[in-house]
């Protein structure tokens, strides 16, 4: 540091401008002395309000020397995705150094209570995302202060504002919007498993009917399918104890949500279970199965009906079970009478012989699992296709028994009721009216369309919590246009996402290691875990939970009896837990091993005592309630609406992998290093016919978008189908998300986003966003 630095003329003149003098050390020090008193008054000076630099106490000195490096372990839950695996976090001197699985949490071990008891000693599991939570926590690109837009929407001009200013601004604007347009003008949506109840309560008190959640971008078609057939919207497969599993469109080994799935699957296989995967792509799950049945996208329902045809024709069904626990079998038998394997082959491309063989194997092997997830679940015929699939275990009496599709028992909290008037306006998305069987999370596609059309009424404001609206809903261009139609947009996010860029106010979001939550686990027996902060938030302000509660106070939100939201979120959840079946306060929950409450064992054949949760209390092959609403009571096969055409001849679908969640994880370089590129997956023969080689640059085009991509050729996909991994293609969000780690592809370094190519519609029964159905064409670049 001893070399002479040359101060340029330009730099000199800038000094003089700012200080009014030529810079020398002496003159600067004279200046600061002079400024001192007045500077403090003006707030210019760092006056250590927080008392950071007080002397360490003797105790703190002792702790510093004795425990330096030892730290403590905090039991909590992951939220790199919605799987909420149990974790424990090693915190040393206020810093997270390692995340490990939490052996006291069944998620990550097993979904059957006896399996959990047996295998608990092995410890839990964490996927790549869970292991990368530390990186996400300390991502330098995390938003750290509230910001307010100062240029036109989307111009990228922001000023930082204080937390108080942010609260004032949001409170003022939401109250004004309500006064001017009515509370229904506010649209509010959030990711799941993140204080959703409390946000719902906020909207109740505010008076808006338009509170939504993420599920209808996820798996509400599966939920509707199973619920309409057997009354439970999310049965869970007992892979560990099954002898046969027929799985439609689910890559649970490669795109793992619940981290026990690989384990329980392997135990089942080790005991000799046969696994068959129906999927246009050969996934990691297929690689570990016995058989791959490649199928045209969106035609799984036809295949299921043909299997049903075989089972009925050969009388392989469980007559006792059907007689005692189902209704409508005769009508179902009538429906499948002409759904021959040959009929199905024309539609699905699955050979008729295969269909006959699989039907025979399935019927002859018990216990058996038949399950479907978001492959077929993301098509315009998803609910009917899913129902046809859900009826297969019903034919064979394979529900709620060991080794079959199990009905979960859970113990959560009891939400406090508020006394409010019903909103004057209906929900804007048609939940309950246009969509009588949709999920309470709403229909985000419809809401987005309503923003654009202004019908049935115009939304004016949106609060988007932990949700990248622009990237998440199919038809990206429409999402951007929709947000631009609003007067006031508040975005809560950890990153400056594509959606945050279009906001009026951006509030920095917390990381899951910084906040509270209750997680009711997706295992078959009651298991409820607490998420607690492992560290204080690096944003050094309010978590979203605190912000929303402060906002409610500021806005004076209360119900007709004067009841308000509680002061803190821990109070809110403690209240819920105490008043619910668990009956414990938050502190009592935290005192449990691993901060997990286990409330009982897995029970089987619960339907014998309680029936199924359908209107008839039985499994419904024929759905009276659907008939009443003008829908087909039987799961007849309907062609997907958006299919390849002469102009757009290939099916485009998408897929997920364990390294990523939606579009959320793409600035995490530990995860991006695993796969920094997102080529279009295409069958080798198809590619050869198009004159394409592996790695070629292309233009990908649908009726809705045109974008750059590259190709990767493989045998592992149906020749009529191409596929993109969902979540890539960021143009905001951070340098890494925009492709800085991609060394092999300079043509489309951020990868290609799939959502832009889609029409952007919702499935008609469940309201599910259709993510996987469009015809596409490839043009060599």
């Amino acid at each position: 540091m001893s070399e002479k630095r040359i101060i340029t003329e330009e730099e000199k003149s800038v000094f003089e401008k700012v200080t009014g003098k030529e810079f020398t050390r002496r003159s600067f020090l004279k200046w600061t002395s002079a400024l001192a008193g007045a500077a403090i008054a003006s707030g210019l000076i760092w006056d250590d309000k927080l008392g950071l630099f007080r002397e360490a106490s003797a105790q703190e000195r002792l702790e510093g020397s004795l425990f330096a490096g030892k730290g403590k372990w905090i039991y909590t839950t992951c939220q790199m995705c919605g799987g909420t695996s149990g974790i424990k976090v090693h915190v040393v001197d206020g810093r997270v150094v390692k995340i490990e699985p939490n052996e006291y949490n069944p998620i990550g071990v097993a979904n059957i209570s006896t399996d959990y008891a047996e295998k608990k000693a092995l410890g839990g599991r964490m996927c790549p995302k869970g292991n990368s939570g530390t990186r996400a926590l300390y991502d330098p690109d995390r938003l750290k202060k509230p910001m307010k837009r100062v240029g036109p929407r989307g111009s990228g001009k922001w000023k930082a504002i204080s937390w108080k200013e942010a609260l004032d601004d949001v409170a003022k604007n939401l109250l004004e919007i309500r006064k001017k347009y009515g509370p229904e003008a506010l649209f509010w949506t959030t990711e799941d498993s993140s204080f959703t109840d409390m946000q719902g309560d906020f909207n109740l008190l505010y008076g808006s009917p338009n509170y939504s959640q993420h599920s209808n971008l996820c798996d509400v078609a599966r939920k509707a399918s199973f619920k309409l057939v057997m009354g439970d919207e999310r049965p869970l497969p007992d892979f560990a104890n099954t002898k046969y599993a027929l799985v439609f469109g689910w890559n649970f080994l490669g795109a793992t949500k619940w981290s026990h799935l690989p384990g329980i699957y392997n135990w089942g296989r080790a005991k000799g279970a046969k696994m068959v995967v129906v999927d246009p792509s050969y996934s990691q799950t297929t690689a570990k199965a016995d058989e791959w049945i490649p199928i045209r996208p969106g035609t799984d329902g036809a295949f299921a009906l043909a299997l049903g045809h075989e089972i009925v024709r050969n009388r392989w069904y469980d007559e006792e079970f059907i007689k005692n626990y189902t209704v409508g079998f005769d009508k179902y038998a009538e429906l499948v009478r002409d759904k021959t394997p040959e009929w199905a082959e024309r539609i699905t491309s699955v050979p008729a012989e295969t269909t006959r063989r699989i039907a025979k194997e399935l019927a002859a092997t018990k216990p058996a699992i038949v399950d479907v997830w978001s492959g077929p679940g993301h098509h315009t015929n998803a609910t009917d296709g899913g129902r046809a699939i859900a009826m297969l275990p019903a034919l064979l009496g394979q529900y709620d028994k060991p080794g079959t599709m199990m009905i979960r028992q859970a113990m959560g909290g009891k939400r406090r009721a508020f006394n409010v008037d019903k909103p004057k306006s209906p929900r804007i998305d048609g939940l309950g009216t246009k969509y009588p069987f949709a999920h309470p999370s709403g229909i985000l596609v419809e809401t987005r369309d309503a923003m654009l059309s202004g019908k049935p009424y115009q939304l004016r404001a949106a609060v988007l919590m932990f949700h990248n609206f622009v990237m998440a809903i199919p038809n990206t261009r429409k999402n951007i246009e929709a947000l631009k139609k609003l007067e006031y947009v508040v975005v809560f996010d950890t990153m400056m996402s594509e959606t945050a860029e279009l906001a009026d106010i951006v509030i920095p979001g917390s990381h899951y290691l910084e906040r509270w939550e209750v997680n009711v686990n997706w295992v078959t027996f009651p298991a409820t875990a607490i998420r607690q902060p492992a560290v204080k938030s690096v944003i050094n302000g309010m978590t979203e939970q605190e912000f929303i509660l402060a906002l409610a106070r500021k806005m004076g939100l209360k119900d007709k009896d004067g009841k308000t939201l509680p002061d803190t979120y821990p109070e809110y959840i403690s209240d819920q837990l105490k008043n619910g079946p668990i009956g414990k306060t938050l502190d009592e929950m935290l005192a449990l091993p691993g901060a997990v409450f286990i409330g009982g064992e897995t029970h089987y054949e619960k339907y014998k005592k309680n029936g199924f949760a359908t209107p008839s209390k039985k499994i419904e092959f024929y759905s009276e309630q659907m008939a009443k609403k003008g829908l087909n009571p039987l799961p007849d096969y309907v062609e997907p609406i958006y299919k390849p055409t002469a102009e757009f001849p290939l099916y485009l679908v998408n897929f997920k992998q364990s390294e990523h969640t939606h579009s959320r994880t793409f600035n995490n370089n530990w995860l991006m290093e695993m796969k920094s590129d997102n080529p279009l997956i295409i069958n080798s023969a198809t590619a050869a016919n198009l004159g394409l080689k592996d790695g070629d640059a292309i233009w990908l085009e649908s009726p809705y978008a045109r974008a750059k991509a590259t190709v990767q050729t493989t045998e592992r996909i149906h020749p009529e189908v191409v596929s993109l991994q969902h979540g890539y293609g960021h143009w905001a969000f951070g340098k890494i998300a925009r492709g800085s780690l991609n060394k092999i592809n300079r043509w489309s370094p951020a990868g290609t986003a799939d959502g832009q190519f889609l029409a952007g519609v919702a499935e008609k029964t469940s309201g599910m966003a259709v993510h996987k159905e469009i015809g596409i064409r490839i043009i060599k670049a």
Binding site: G43, A68, N669
Partner: protein, 191 residues
């Protein structure tokens, strides 16, 4: 530094100088920690009759664009700059731990529950002011050598090139030159 005559005068000037130095660190810390306010701007304009042509809005946008909006590579934390070439930029990086250790070694405790990262530029500059008030010259020298000098000049250069306003061009240059002059001065104080 200019020569002085007489021990007393030297001591007095030194303590005046130390006060000024401490204030200097605190003012510079303030520039980076707080969103610029109308008051700051007016005060600066009036107190030193300087000729900044920036508007307060321009300065606010500049501050936010550089230090708050992510992706511009200017977040003011030592661990993002002072790192090994193969170490990825991260909050709570190795440098952060070292700074926290430094504070601890000098008997200063940053309460974990505040969530404040020890290596934020304002905290480091503020800590330097604290060391000056304690008159611990060795500690100051070490902190300059091991931390402030390792990243602040480079950081300031980057701010200078990214800033749109004269205000932040000036602030970044001031900060850099002051830190460098500090080292010159303290090196001269061999103890």
């Amino acid at each position: 530094m200019d020569g002085y005559k007489g021990e007393d005068k030297e001591d007095m000037m030194e303590s005046t100088e130390n006060t000024a130095r401490a204030r200097a660190y605190e003012i510079l810390a303030g520039f980076f920690s707080n969103e610029p306010t109308r008051e700051m701007f007016d005060f600066l304009n009036e107190a030193i009759s300087c000729s900044i042509e920036d508007t307060i809005e321009g300065i606010e946008v500049d501050f936010a664009t550089m230090f708050i909006v992510p992706g511009n590579g200017l977040q003011p934390f030592e661990s993002l700059y002072n790192r090994a070439p193969d170490e990825e930029p991260s909050l709570w990086g190795k440098a952060t731990k070292d700074v926290a250790g430094f504070y601890r070694a000098y008997g200063v405790h940053i309460d974990e529950s505040t969530g404040i990262l020890p290596d934020h530029i304002s905290v480091e500059l503020g800590f330097m002011g604290h060391l000056i008030e304690r008159e611990d010259n060795n500690a100051q020298r070490r902190f300059l050598e091991e931390h402030l000098l390792k990243w602040i000049p480079e950081f300031c250069d980057r701010v200078y090139s990214k800033a749109n306003t004269d205000f932040y061009k000036g602030v970044s240059k001031l900060t850099k030159e002051f830190i460098l002059s500090e080292y010159e001065a303290i090196k001269g104080e061999a103890r």
